[in-house]
Point group: C2
Chain length 287, copies 2
């Protein structure tokens, strides 16, 4: 049996009871650790489960899935995923491979950023498609995210921005030389996200277009959602560049105009400028 | 302290370890049981927690929040929510009220239909806004959901349809006479959802419009997502009307045209007509 178990967002105790019971009866346990990270160390998980945990990097998951599934016809294998198991395409791929080998699969769900973002007070049914924002490099500054934000904003919807994480990445030089030396992990901050977004908006202006957001557009930055150290800050993109969000992981929501006064009421609690949010509530309510 | 604890989707063991530890140290425990339902009985929860659980109906939550929060300055109160705490506006309202009284609040997240719907193989970043579908009555057949599905489909996105549940509803007669007699609970099936959707499409056609979906549009019906008895069926709206989805709760996804071949590959496993899905994959891949 292959158990694909969501770990939730913060620490070892965010696993569900059903998930914990499954993991504890497994013969091998893998932790997928490159599409997201848990806010606690592997050792803590091992102690909590009373079992060894193997870190599964991109290489193992994408090329070594036969190793992961080895013997799963008779053994119990756990594949642990931060958040919910269906957060990344890679995991559905592993399930397809298991099915092809007639290995029974049980998925155990958990919270992920896709629903826990509700913690900022914006209602999930007011979100459009979510968007990934990757680190710009000197030579690659992709603006494709912009079109999706624009599609959402055109119909008044919020956009959840998932911010890039780079784990176990090689420099171009090391990759070229085949050296397995990895760069330190990097996690995109809300500050960098705002900078990259505004760079694209500036490029639109330079091209004579009106961008779908500006530095005055309202957004919410979140850090370590779901943990006890969660930070939420609501304000303009400009103000979020100065906000103290603390350590990773960060995410962000760009608001849509269909925002409801009740959503703003909740957001006000986290606002850099509560009076500005109140003014918007008053305007929405026609006061 | 007010703990707002997500219970996940299926049974008593879907609570997180952190959630369970919080609940077990609470002095009073409420279970919100009108915006969704758990697939297990209250007694099972009580046995599992070793604590009494009070069912909180709409009346108690919306008018009696002072009763719920009574003494929370010194006592520990748990408010249990099926799925994730931020699934319904009502719960954010309770948190605002607690904050206004300076009661500390801790939210413990869990899976909800909003992310667990990934179980059907469709990628969450290809979903637009989600839509609620309410039971039509003789005199009230609201088509407002249609516009949101149309907005999503216009940009190629999938739509999660949340299907109505009616719990502890009064008949108009009993309401008029002030009799606290309640109708048996009703949960919208995928079949009813398809019928209502196609009724609105027919009305568009009758009005000379081209509807944004037809009986040949692909969709996925899901029953009891996240439980071991989960059922997933993929097919046209017409074929889903005949599909055996089993007992509640049901949800549905209407596909968008931006669907990726890998999503279809996963869906094929659940398809009423796998050959038709394969043909679509071939078409997408230009074969």
């Amino acid at each position: 049996m292959l158990y694909v178990v969501g770990l939730g967002l913060a620490d070892e105790k965010d696993i569900t009871v059903r998930g914990l019971e499954a993991v504890q009866q497994c013969d091998r346990i893998y932790l997928e650790a490159y599409t997201s990270i848990l806010l606690c160390e592997r050792e803590k998980l091992e102690q909590f489960y009373g079992k060894a945990v193997v870190i599964a990097d991109r290489e193992l998951v994408e090329s070594g899935s036969d190793d992961i599934l080895e013997g799963a016809e008779t053994l119990n294998i756990a594949f642990l995923v931060v958040g919910d198991p269906f957060g990344a395409t890679t995991h559905t791929d592993l399930i397809i491979r298991a099915r092809d080998r007639n290995i029974p699969v049980e998925v155990i769900h958990n919270a992920s950023i896709m629903n826990a973002i509700g913690a900022c007070g914006l209602q999930l049914y007011n979100f459009g498609q979510c968007v990934s924002l990757v680190f710009f490099t000197d030579t690659w500054r992709p603006a494709s995210f912009y079109d999706r934000v624009a599609e959402n904003r055109a119909i008044g919807l919020h956009t959840l921005m998932l911010l890039d994480i780079k784990v176990k990445e090689q420099s171009i030089e090391n990759m070229a030389r085949g050296r397995r030396i990895y760069e330190p992990p990097r996690y995109m901050t809300v500050k960098t996200a705002c900078e990259q977004m505004l760079e694209i908006a500036d490029a639109k202006i330079a091209a004579g277009e009106t961008p779908c957001y500006t530095q005055d557009t309202l957004a919410v930055g979140v850090g370590r959602v779901g943990s006890r150290e969660q930070v939420i800050v609501a304000g303009t993109l400009r103000s979020l560049m100065e906000a103290e969000m603390g350590p990773p992981l960060h995410s962000m929501v760009v608001l849509g105009d269909r925002v409801h006064p009740l959503e703003l009421e909740y957001m006000k609690y986290y606002a850099t400028d509560p009076a500005a949010i109140q003014a918007l509530i008053d305007e929405k309510e026609g006061r």
